[in-house]
Amino acid sequence: MKNRILIVDDSFYMRTMLKNMLTDAGYEVVGEAANGQQALEMASATRPDLITLDVILPDNTGLDVLKGIRLEQPDVKVVMCSAVGQEVIVNEALESGATAYIVKPFSEEKVLEIVGSALQSSDSTEA
């Protein structure tokens, strides 16, 4: 069974790139959300295994979205996507239950490594 991933990013460019990287690596991208509201709806409807979550979104911050998702789905793995200069938010996200984070601009290897190990952590806790 392919792992199912939801991508949350307000930039179409970033979403396209992430989707290609993840799809090529054999993951199934179940949806793409461009803002916080969409992210919450799609997370709830698609029930992904993992969510890549941009820290800055048009309607609210990634942090709010993370907390919203956590309330409903405590098990889903969330990888925060941030850029340099947002260490404070990233730390807070990790404290609020984010599984891992990636710093933009990211390389394909890095994305796959972090996503892979975030999903692994899910397997081991379930086992």
Partner: protein, 545 residues
């Protein structure tokens, strides 16, 4: 085919130019009202995105400026700076510089040097006074500064429809001119005609291409629909969406919207069982619903797949006999696919007992009509207890359809490829008469075959006489069509060729109009009727001996 790098670059440019426009707007808003938090948040977000995207593309100069701008907007957000004083012209200059840099990248020019700006941004970050030089001024004073328009155009679909109709007319005239030029045989005319041919071809595909949208634009509305229906029906449903990137004509997507909504609602409401029932059957409590799109040759396949209770073919068969849709005798020879086809019969579904069979049915005839109007196909496959799959086979574009041309009584006819299954030539000994109907056995399937000439005549004189095998002389050219899970063979005089045709509606009144989906003009100028396979299939079923 575009390489991925080109695709990324195009997306980056389109988005960067959009960001620049939005930044220019928001910074003006902020100047008017320095406490406008929404504008401030947007500026921060846009800088953030531009920075990340530019760095991913390797445009580090743009990334660096956007990064410093983001930092300062961040400081304004956290109230460590105010949008006032010497900071204002520097930030305006920053937005302008970003615009120039983006344009330069777009046009493969050298990216303008931003050292002065970066130095001032650094000073601002450190809380020091920027050094405003003469360089800051020219940008403001430059009355001839360029105004940039977006590269994206929003257009009413009506205008594209008109364009497509014109292209359709053009293609018909083009084919006519090409044929004439061959008849006349003048080399200069032939060269011009073949050039016209290529140009018109390009034009046609460009117009068709401009109308394509991602299936995702419809699919992405479904997570919400599924969630709401699932809650209302008290079912647990996991939705998976595949193939959002598949492209299809916008009007086709529009036409199938209701049909898809219907199929999804049906699948959740009637196809999938409740969690309790599923547990009893040893299935996972959560029902699976898959919405997928894929391309197959020139068609787009859209599927709605559930792992619910499936369709009980025997019950559908009994109901079909009860409703008089088929005789008890004939029903026995129908395979499961043909039986499931009854679900799409008008009225069949409306009866309560039928909805109880499987829950399928409510409004399926409406779904069927929508797909038929597009010249598409609707298929249903199901395994009792394991689930049901509805497949919509749709043309990518509405303008041009692949068709098979054949001859009957010295006239040309066209039959859309969407409905043709195969083409065979059979000797009389390979055909048998069963119950007054000719049957061909192909790949272990028994397929009824009818002489198309006789079938067309039966529409006006009202009878289809039992087939007589002795009337068949020599090889028979047979086109096997597939409609509503049912195969049927038409005997024609001669196969001609395969060709793309533009179907025009017929001018009324024309006899037997229901049997033809329209007309097309061949290059020879000859009018060619386009067979309506659904109508002919229904005619055959109504008239069969």
């Amino acid at each position: 085919m575009k390489s991925r790098e080109e695709e990324y670059r195009e997306i980056f440019m389109a988005e960067a130019l959009e960001y620049y426009d939005a930044m220019s707007r928001h910074i003006s808003e902020l100047e008017k009202d320095p406490t406008d938090e929404k504008a401030l948040h947007e500026l921060f977000r846009l800088m953030h995105n531009l920075k990340a995207n530019a760095r991913a593309m390797g445009f580090n100069d743009i990334g660096e400026v956007a990064h410093q701008m983001e930092t300062i907007f961040g400081l304004i957000r956290s109230k460590e700076r105010t949008f006032s004083g010497s900071l204002v012209p520097v930030l305006f200059a920053g937005v302008d510089t970003l615009g120039n840099m983006i344009r330069a990248v777009d046009q493969d020019e050298e990216v303008p040097n931003a050292d002065v700006l970066l130095r001032n941004l650094d000073l601002l970050v450190l809380g020091e006074e920027p050094i405003l030089e003469a360089e800051e001024k020219p940008a403001d004073e430059d009355a001839s500064r360029k105004l940039e328009l977006s590269d994206l155009v929003y257009i009413q679909i009506k205008k594209l429809d008109h364009l497509l109709n014109l292209v359709g007319e053009l293609i018909i005239d083009r084919d006519r001119i090409l044929t004439l030029s061959q008849e006349i045989g003048n080399p200069a005319l032939q060269t011009a005609a073949s050039h016209l041919f290529r140009i018109a071809d390009d034009l046609q595909y460009s117009v068709m291409d401009a109308r394509l949208v991602n299936v995702g634009s419809l699919f992405n509305k479904f997570p919400r629909v599924v969630r709401d229906v699932a809650v209302a029906e008290n079912k647990e449903v996991e939705l998976t969406i595949n193939g959002q990137d598949i492209q299809i004509d916008r009007n086709i997507l529009q036409i199938i919207t209701d049909a898809l909504l219907h199929l999804v609602r049906n699948a959740i409401g009637h196809g999938l069982e409740t969690a309790t029932e599923r547990r009893r059957q040893g299935k996972p409590e959560q029902g699976n619903l898959i919405l997928s799109a894929q391309t197959e040759r020139d068609d787009v396949l859209i599927q709605v797949i559930d792992d619910g209770r499936g369709i009980d073919v025997e019950q559908v068969r009994r109901k079909a006999v009860e409703r008089g849709l088929v005789s008890a005798e004939a029903s026995k020879s129908l395979d499961a696919n043909a039986v499931r086809g009854f679900l799409f019969e008008p009225g069949f579904s409306m009866a309560k007992e039928v909805t109880d069979i499987s829950g399928r049915g409510v409004g399926l005839d409406v779904v069927k009509l929508a797909i038929d109007s597009l010249g598409g196909q609707l298929r249903v496959d199901s395994v009792l207890g394991q689930g049901t799959t509805f497949t919509l086979v749709l043309p990518t574009s509405i303008a041009v359809k692949g068709a098979l041309l054949f001859e009957l009584e010295e006239r040309s006819y066209a039959i859309p490829l969407m409905h043709t299954d195969s083409v065979v030539s059979l000797q009389p000994k390979q055909l048998h008469v069963v119950g007054g109907v000719l049957m061909a056995r192909l790949l272990s399937e028994n397929i009824p075959v009818v002489d198309l000439r006789t079938l067309l005549h039966s529409a006006s004189d009202g009878v289809l006489l039992p087939a007589v095998k002795a009337e068949l002389q020599g090889r028979q050219d047979i086109i096997i069509v597939n409609y509503n899970n049912r195969k049927l063979g038409f005997i024609v005089d001669r196969f001609l060729r395969q060709q793309d045709i533009v179907i025009k509606p017929m001018s009324k009144p024309l006899d037997m109009i229901d049997l033809f989906g329209g007309v097309t003009l061949l290059g020879s100028g000859q009018v060619c009727l386009v067979i309506d396979v659904p109508a002919l299939t229904r005619l055959f079923l109504a008239k069969r001996p």
